[in-house]
């Protein structure tokens, strides 16, 4: 059904944009490299493809006059989320361009800011592209050409946003979001494990690792007790 397809596309777009945001955070920092720029480009292009596809579907759905009120409300909700996604994407793309220009990887080299982020982000980009892993295949001066491409793509996205506003009239204030405040807490258990990330340097351990240590210790203790009992019985 059209609604399910739209929702799936929107979810994929949302994922790509979140990964793109995560990658842009590290531009100019110590993790910046040609690989990162390539990952940015791939994620960006994927996000744009998804955006074009979603837009086509949503526009077709909203332009359909014979849509019931409930269906229309549903599509309007998706539309509002979609335009929000596009705004986020455009802002991140602009910022990425500004940062890439300010911290070029080719000569004249400016020292990158030593932020403490050292690892690669191939996993993030792979997640965005819904692939298992990512192969880096760019040549040396990749980022120079990439800058020009970025400018064109930013213009394309701005045009898309403008077109959307002109062609489809969805008053945002009438849209009722389905999620209420605190809805994110009702998510699956997958989100709870992220609570293990502590932002402060804690002298004490976090609870899950404490539980793990306790179970390991008790298992070792039990094994030792069992061995001692066996030894006592045998002797």
């Amino acid at each position: 059904m059209a609604r399910e397809e739209c929702k799936a596309l929107l979810d994929a777009l949302n994922k790509a944009i979140a990964c793109y945001h995560h990658l842009v955070l590290t531009v100019g920092g110590s993790a910046d490299s040609q690989n990162l720029r390539e990952e940015l480009q791939k994620t960006r292009q994927k996000a744009q493809e998804l955006a074009v596809a979603t837009r086509a579907q949503l526009t077709a759905a909203l332009r359909d006059r014979g849509l019931g009120a409930e269906e229309r409300a549903e599509f309007e909700r998706l539309w509002v989320a979609f335009s929000g996604c596009l705004d986020l994407l455009e802002a991140d793309m602009r910022r990425a361009l500004a940062l890439s220009t300010a911290f070029p990887l080719h000569a004249p080299r400016r020292p990158l800011v030593r932020t403490g982020v050292a690892g690669g982000a191939a996993g993030v980009a792979a997640r965005a592209l819904s692939a298992r892993s990512l192969r880096h295949e760019a040549e040396g001066d990749f980022d120079v050409d990439d800058l020009r491409e970025q400018e064109c793509e930013i213009l394309q996205v701005s045009e898309m946003i403008h077109d959307m506003e002109m062609k489809v009239n969805v008053p945002r204030w009438t849209v009722q979001a389905r999620q209420t405040a605190g809805a994110e807490l009702l998510s699956s258990a997958g989100a709870c494990s992220v609570g293990a990330v502590s932002v402060q340097e804690r002298t004490g351990p976090c609870d899950p690792s404490k539980a793990l240590a306790a179970t390991v210790f008790s298992a070792v203790l039990l094994a030792a007790v069992a061995l001692a009992v066996c030894v006592a019985k045998l002797s």
Binding site: A18, C19, G28, R172, T180, A191, E201
Partner: protein, 464 residues
């Protein structure tokens, strides 16, 4: 911090960025250490004392200044402390700091958006499993009300961003979380912490931000216009201004209730409103201060209804009362309703200006011509010239005679000076407390008394 245009990068931020970038130089930058967290090792930690030493050496400044500069860097979020993230100060010891990633550098070009803040708070809510506290909880609720239509997007993005972060190593995850936290501490400071991004009021004469690069004809035209206007501005010598100001102050000082107290008593202090009843607009016997005030200027006399009435009586004795009547009629026209303008102009013309009118006023021929022309298209300011002429006539002529007249002198003699209200006091008080305490009158030694005198039920009604 002078006001700047919103949407332009403030100059002090660009300067700070340059300092931070020069700190990154691998040969001449700041010394970096590693941070050891149980199993993970995170590089690129810098100690507060190292930062101060580097600044002292690079810019040849004193240690105090380097400390201040370093604190500014921390306050604006370019460096963040690792141990106590909410306390944004630079300590010149081995407290560890780290540099902020350029994406999160404080920027007025990319102001922090509400949607981003909502996503951040939602992420925090997920991580803390619903235990947001304090101002963050309030902001979260506020944002939910403000942008409830995009809340779906907020929740989706928050979840996805957390999942994307899980693809990184633990050390990187920690660092990125710290960076984001610092960014929001700077852009949405907790209550009680002043915001570094506040821009002061825009100063209209500040042209620093408006330097136009291309000096084209538009630019020169505007400059010429600006200077032409500046030439026509009226200028008064400051010595003249100050003399007039001194004269005004010395003349009006006895009349000011704060500077000289008011008789019989200050109604706000003693709850006795004799002062107001004695100075009501229409009272039979005015106070002496009021009558003296009519002598200061013609404007004062006309503004006081009682003074105007007495002036009118005086003019009647001189057979020139029509001047004042004309002036009053013109005032009514100026301040009256728009619908009555036509009717009033006609009435005024018939009564005062037409040849052979009942109360014909003596206006010079040129003004009369102009007025009669203007009467073809009447509006509320059409009689302004004539009114001004009559006003100056009265001021130069009748007003000075009024002040010298017997009528005025009688008024002065009959004017009443209300006695100061007697306060019921405790028998052992050394000094009679003032019934209208004035900070200008009281010497410092009696500062305790007005506080006692102004309280409680013993400041009763003084005698009138």
């Amino acid at each position: 911090m002078a006001g700047g245009r919103p949407g332009a990068q403030m100059p002090h931020l660009s300067k700070m960025e340059r300092v931070v970038v020069s700190m990154q130089d691998p040969d001449q930058g700041v010394e970096m250490r590693n941070q050891r967290l149980r199993i993970t090792v995170i590089p690129h930690t810098v100690a507060g004392s190292d930062v101060v030493d580097w600044l002292v050496q690079k810019y040849c400044i004193s240690e105090e200044e380097a400390l201040h500069l370093g604190t500014l860097l921390v306050l604006h979020g370019y460096l963040y402390p690792l141990r106590r993230p909410r306390s944004l100060v630079l300590r010149p010891d081995d407290t560890p700091y780290r540099f902020q990633t350029p994406y999160f550098w404080t920027s007025t070009l990319w102001p922090a958006a509400e949607l981003d803040y909502a996503i951040y708070l939602t992420k925090k809510n997920i991580r803390k499993q619903g235990a947001l506290v304090g101002h963050e909880k309030e902001h979260y609720d506020q944002l939910h009300r403000k942008i409830s239509h995009t809340w779906d997007l907020v929740v989706m993005q928050a979840r996805e961003q957390l999942r994307a972060a899980k693809q990184r190593r633990k050390g990187d995850r920690l660092v990125i979380a710290c960076q984001e936290q610092t960014y929001w501490l700077v852009n949405r400071p907790p209550p009680g912490v002043p915001s570094v991004l506040e821009q002061g009021p825009e100063r209209s004469s500040c042209t620093a931000g408006r330097v136009q690069m291309t000096k084209n004809t538009e630019f020169y035209k505007r400059e010429m216009e600006r200077y032409r206007k500046a030439l026509t501005r009226a200028r008064v010598k400051s010595s003249v201004c100050l003399e007039a100001y001194l004269k005004f102050s010395s003349q009006h000082a006895p009349h000011d209730p704060i500077m000289s107290g008011c008789l019989p008593s200050n109604p706000w202090v003693t709850d006795d409103d004799t002062y107001w009843t004695m100075n009501a607009p229409s009272v039979t016997v005015p106070t002496k201060l009021r009558v003296e005030r009519w002598g200061f200027s013609f404007q004062e006399l006309l503004e006081d209804p009682l003074g105007r009435a007495h002036f009118m009586d005086f003019l009647r004795t001189e057979f020139s009362a029509e001047n004042l009547s004309f002036w009053e009629a013109c005032e009514e026209l100026r301040h009256g309703g728009q619908a009555q303008v036509h009717a009033m102009v006609d009435a005024v013309y018939q009564q005062f200006l037409a040849p052979g009118a009942a109360c014909w006023v003596n206006i010079d021929s040129r003004t009369m011509e102009r007025t009669l022309e203007g009467l073809q298209q009447p509006h509320r300011y059409v009689l302004d010239d004539a009114q001004l002429h009559i006003y100056m006539l009265m001021k130069k002529d009748s007003y000075s005679r009024f002040l010298k007249s017997a009528a005025y002198k009688d008024l002065l003699a009959q004017a009443v000076i209300p006695p100061e209200a007697k306060r019921r006091v405790f028998p052992f008080m050394r000094k009679l407390p003032h019934s209208s305490p004035s900070p200008a009158l009281l010497p410092a030694s009696t500062s305790g008394e007005p506080v006692a005198a102004a309280s409680g039920p013993e400041c009763g009604d003084g005698g009138t």
